[in-house]
C-alpha cells in the first residue's frame, strides 16, 4: 500500500498565488476526481506535484509514502512513482515512441543493467493491444501529428508501461470525442485498482460516467472546498459551479 499526501500545498506562478493550501490524501487503489471551474488551479496543482520548473512551491508539502518529493528533480519524482498524464502532451520530433519509452524503462533499471529487448517489446505490444493502438505507432515520433485522441492514448500507454504508484491525470478527457473517450477510459479502468492511485482532474462530469471515481472533490480558488462520493459530481452537473460559489459566499458572509 502506498500513500500520497498533499498537505497545505501552496504554489505560485511568478508572484501570483494559484494553489492556496490544498489538502488531500490518496491511497493505492483509489480514484479521486478533482473538479472545478477553469482557472481554479487544477492543472497548476498537477504540474507542481510533478516538479515543473515554472511553478514555485511556496508552502506545504507533498509526501509519497511519508517522504517529501519537493526537493526531488522531476525525473526522480517519476522514478519514485509519480506520473503526470498531460493535458497537452509535448510533441517530440525525431524521437520514436519505442525509443522514448525504452529510455524511460531503462532509467528505472540499475546502472549497467541491460534491458531485455524481447521482453520489452512483448510488454509494449500487449499494452498497445489493450489500448487499441496500432503497432505502427511505435516508430512514429512522440505525439507528432497525433490527433487529440491519439495523444491521450499515448499518455495512457506510457502510464501502463511505467506502472506508477500514483497518476495525476490532467483533463484527460479534453479534446476527445466519445469513441476516443471510451477507449481512454477503458484503458484507465484496466489499470485502476490494485497498486495504482489516481487523481483525475476534470472540468466535466462526462468523464466520470466512464471512469467512476471513489471520491469527488471540488476545487475552487486554489483549494478543496467540497468533498463527497460520485453523487457530488452528479449534483454539480445539475446545479453548476455557481452553486458551489454561492454556498461559499454564504458561508463566509
Amino acid at each position: 500500500m502506498s500513500k500520497l499526501e498533499i498537505k497545505d500545498f501552496r504554489v505560485s506562478i511568478g508572484d501570483k498565488p494559484i494553489v492556496k493550501g490544498f489538502n488531500l490524501t490518496i491511497n493505492s487503489g483509489e480514484v479521486h476526481a478533482i473538479m472545478g471551474p477553469n482557472g481554479t488551479g487544477k492543472s497548476t496543482l498537477a504540474k507542481a506535484i510533478a516538479g515543473h520548473p515554472d511553478y514555485a512551491v511556496t508552502g506545504g508539502d507533498v509526501l509519497l509514502d511519508g517522504k517529501s518529493v519537493l526537493a526531488m528533480e522531476p525525473d526522480e519524482r517519476a522514478r519514485a512513482g509519480l506520473f503526470l498524464a498531460f493535458q497537452y502532451p509535448s510533441e517530440i520530433p525525431g524521437v520514436s515512441i519505442a525509443n522514448f519509452l525504452r529510455a524511460a524503462v531503462q532509467a528505472r533499471m540499475a546502472e549497467g543493467e541491460e534491458l531485455d529487448a524481447t521482453g520489452y517489446y512483448k510488454r509494449l505490444y500487449s499494452k498497445m493491444d489493450l489500448l487499441k493502438i496500432d503497432r505502427k505507432f511505435t516508430s512514429r515520433s512522440v505525439n507528432e501529428g497525433f490527433s487529440g485522441g491519439e495523444k491521450k492514448r499515448c499518455e495512457i500507454l506510457q502510464m501502463a508501461m511505467l506502472e506508477p504508484k500514483f497518476a495525476l491525470m490532467d483533463e484527460t478527457d479534453s479534446g476527445l470525442d466519445i469513441d476516443a473517450l471510451r477507449i481512454v477510459a477503458d484503458g484507465v479502468n484496466a489499470l485502476r485498482g490494485g497498486q495504482l492511485g489516481i487523481m483525475l482532474i476534470t472540468h466535466y462530469q462526462r468523464l466520470l460516467d466512464y471512469i467512476v471515481p471513489d471520491f469527488v472533490h471540488v476545487m475552487y480558488d486554489g483549494r478543496l472546498v467540497k468533498s463527497g462520493d460520485k453523487s457530488l459530481a452528479l449534483e454539480l452537473e445539475a446545479k453548476g459551479y455557481d452553486w458551489v460559489k454561492q454556498e461559499l459566499a454564504a458561508a463566509s458572509a
Binding site: 528533480e73 522531476p74 517530440i92 525509443n99
Partner: protein, 440 residues
C-alpha cells in the same frame, strides 16, 4: 616605391618539405607532377585569410597558422582502436599518416562487375585518364584557394572508387584515414566516379591516433564526387580528429543529367574545422542533397561554407545543415545558391538549424541567394533555438534523467538528417559515433 604585401606564410610547408614530398611519392606522372608544382606555387604565393575576406567572416583566423606541423613518417595503425565500417564483406582502405596500412579488397563478384576500389597511387598507374579528368577538376570557390592548393600539392595517396555504367555496388566501401603522432600533417583524398546509371555508397572516416587532445595535427583533405547520367552516389564522411587538430575538408560534387548525389558530413572532431562544399548541377534532372550534422563541444569552431550552382534547367538541390552547440563552441554557416540565367525550373533549398545547448555557444548563419533565372523556386532559412523546456520536462516527467533527455532531444533534432542514410548498418554506425561524441 615599395608596396607592402600581406605575408604569404607557408608555415612548416616550405619548398624543401615539398621537394621531399615529391621525392617520396612512388608514382608521379608528369602531368600530376606539374599540377602539384603549380599548386605549391599557388599555395606559397597566396596570402593567409584576412579579416576583411568575406569568405572568412566570423572565422577565427589566429587558429589557421601552419607552423609546427610536419610530414609524418610511416605509421602503423592501432588495430584495437580501429572501428570497422560495420558492414561485413565491404571493401576497406585504411591509411595511416598518408600511406596505405591495410586493405580489404572488394568481393570477387564486385570486382568482376568492373568496380574499382583502390588507392589513388594505383589508380594513377591503372586508370590514369580517369584520375586526370576528375581529380580536383573543380576550382576552389569558397575562400580556401590557399589551403586547397596545399592539399593538392601534398596529396600522397587516397581512395579511388570507380563504378562502371549500369553497375550498382551491392555493398558500401569504407575509407579510414588515421593521423598518428603530434604535429602529423595528413592530406586525405577520396575520388568517386559513378558512370551512367551506376550506384555506389562510400564512407570516409577521419580519426586521430591516439585521440589525445594535446597532440595537435593538421588535416587538409578533400573529395571529388562525380555522378554521370542517372548515377547515384551516397557519400558519408565522419570527421573525428582529436580536439587539437586543425582540419580542412573540401568537397566538389558534379551531378550530370538525372544524377543524384547525397553527401552527409558528420563534424565531431578538431579544434577548428573548415568545411567547404561545392555542388554543381550541370544537366537537367540533376539533384544534390547536401547534409551535415555537427556536435560542437568545448571551444571547438566549425566553419561551413557551401555553394550550390544550378547550371541547367530543372535541377534541384537540398541543403540541410544541423548543428548542436554545447559549452563555448562556435559554428559558422555561410551558404550561397546560384541559379544561372538558363537554369529555369530550378528547385533549391538551403537550411541551417542550430540547437543551442548552452548560453555561451555562438552560431552564425549567413544564407544567400543569387538568382538570374525568373522561373525558379528557391528558399533558404536559418534558425537558432534552445531546447524546448516543455519537451525537456515531458521527458523528465517520465523518469528520464536530464542528461539522457538532452541526448534524446538532440537525436530527435538530428533524426531528419540521420534518417536520410538508408543503409541500416551505416545508419547505426553514424548514430553510435554521435552518441559516443555526446558522452565524452
Amino acid at each position: 616605391m615599395s608596396v607592402s604585401t600581406p605575408t604569404a606564410a607557408v608555415g612548416a610547408f616550405t619548398r624543401e618539405v615539398f621537394e621531399a614530398h615529391l621525392a617520396r611519392v612512388k608514382h608521379l606522372p608528369a602531368w600530376w607532377r606539374e599540377r602539384k608544382r603549380a599548386a605549391y606555387e599557388r599555395f606559397a604565393s597566396l596570402p593567409m585569410p584576412r579579416r576583411t575576406d568575406e569568405g572568412w567572416r566570423f572565422s577565427q583566423l589566429g587558429g589557421l597558422s601552419l607552423d609546427g606541423y610536419h610530414l609524418p613518417a610511416a605509421a602503423d595503425y592501432d588495430r584495437s582502436g580501429h572501428a570497422e565500417l560495420g558492414v561485413p564483406g565491404a571493401g576497406t582502405l585504411l591509411f595511416a599518416n598518408n600511406r596505405l596500412a591495410m586493405q580489404e579488397p572488394l568481393s570477387g563478384a564486385a570486382a568482376r562487375s568492373g568496380i574499382v576500389f583502390d588507392t589513388l597511387q594505383n589508380a594513377l598507374v591503372h586508370h590514369e585518364d580517369l584520375v586526370r579528368t576528375h581529380l580536383l577538376a573543380q576550382p576552389n570557390r569558397l575562400g580556401s584557394a590557399k589551403f586547397a592548393a596545399l592539399h593538392e600539392a601534398f596529396i600522397e595517396d587516397g581512395a579511388f572508387v570507380y563504378v562502371p555504367a549500369g553497375v550498382e555496388a551491392a555493398l558500401p566501401v569504407g575509407v579510414f584515414h588515421y593521423a598518428r603522432g603530434a604535429g602529423a600533417a595528413v592530406f586525405p583524398h577520396t575520388l568517386v566516379i559513378a558512370e551512367e546509371r551506376a550506384k555506389v555508397t562510400v564512407a570516409d572516416f577521419f580519426r586521430s591516433v591516439p585521440a589525445d587532445p594535446t597532440s595537435a595535427q593538421l588535416a587538409c583533405g578533400g573529395n571529388d564526387l562525380y555522378a554521370g547520367h542517372g548515377a547515384q552516389i551516397t557519400y558519408l564522411a565522419i570527421q573525428d580528429w582529436n580536439r587539437a587538430t586543425l582540419s580542412f575538408q573540401f568537397n566538389a560534387t558534379v551531378a550530370r543529367r538525372d544524377a543524384r548525389v547525397l553527401s552527409l558530413n558528420l563534424h565531431a572532431g578538431a579544434r577548428q574545422a573548415r568545411h567547404e562544399s561545392f555542388s554543381q548541377l550541370q544537366a537537367p534532372g540533376a539533384h544534390s542533397e547536401m547534409l551535415a550534422l555537427t556536435v560542437a563541444h568545448g571551444t571547438q569552431e566549425f566553419d561551413q561554407r557551401t555553394l550550390q550552382i544550378h547550371q541547367a534547367p530543372s535541377t534541384s538541390s537540398n541543403l540541410l545543415y544541423k548543428n548542436a552547440l554545447l559549452d563555448q563552441a562556435k559554428t559558422i554557416f555561410s551558404g550561397l545558391i546560384v541559379v544561372d540565367p538558363d537554369a529555369q525550373k530550378t528547385d533549391a533549398y538551403q537550411s541551417n538549424r542550430n540547437l543551442m545547448l548552452s548560453d555561451d555557444a555562438e552560431a552564425h548563419s549567413l544564407p544567400g541567394l543569387e538568382i538570374q533565372a525568373n522561373d525558379v523556386r528557391c528558399t533558404h532559412g536559418a534558425t537558432s533555438a534552445r531546447i524546448d523546456r516543455e519537451q525537456e520536462f515531458y521527458l523528465e516527467s517520465r523518469g528520464i534523467r536530464a542528461a539522457q533527455a538532452q541526448e534524446l532531444l538532440v537525436f530527435g533534432f538530428f533524426e531528419e538528417v540521420i534518417g536520410k542514410i538508408e543503409h541500416p548498418q551505416l545508419h547505426d554506425r553514424l548514430t553510435e559515433i554521435i552518441r559516443e561524441k555526446f558522452r565524452t
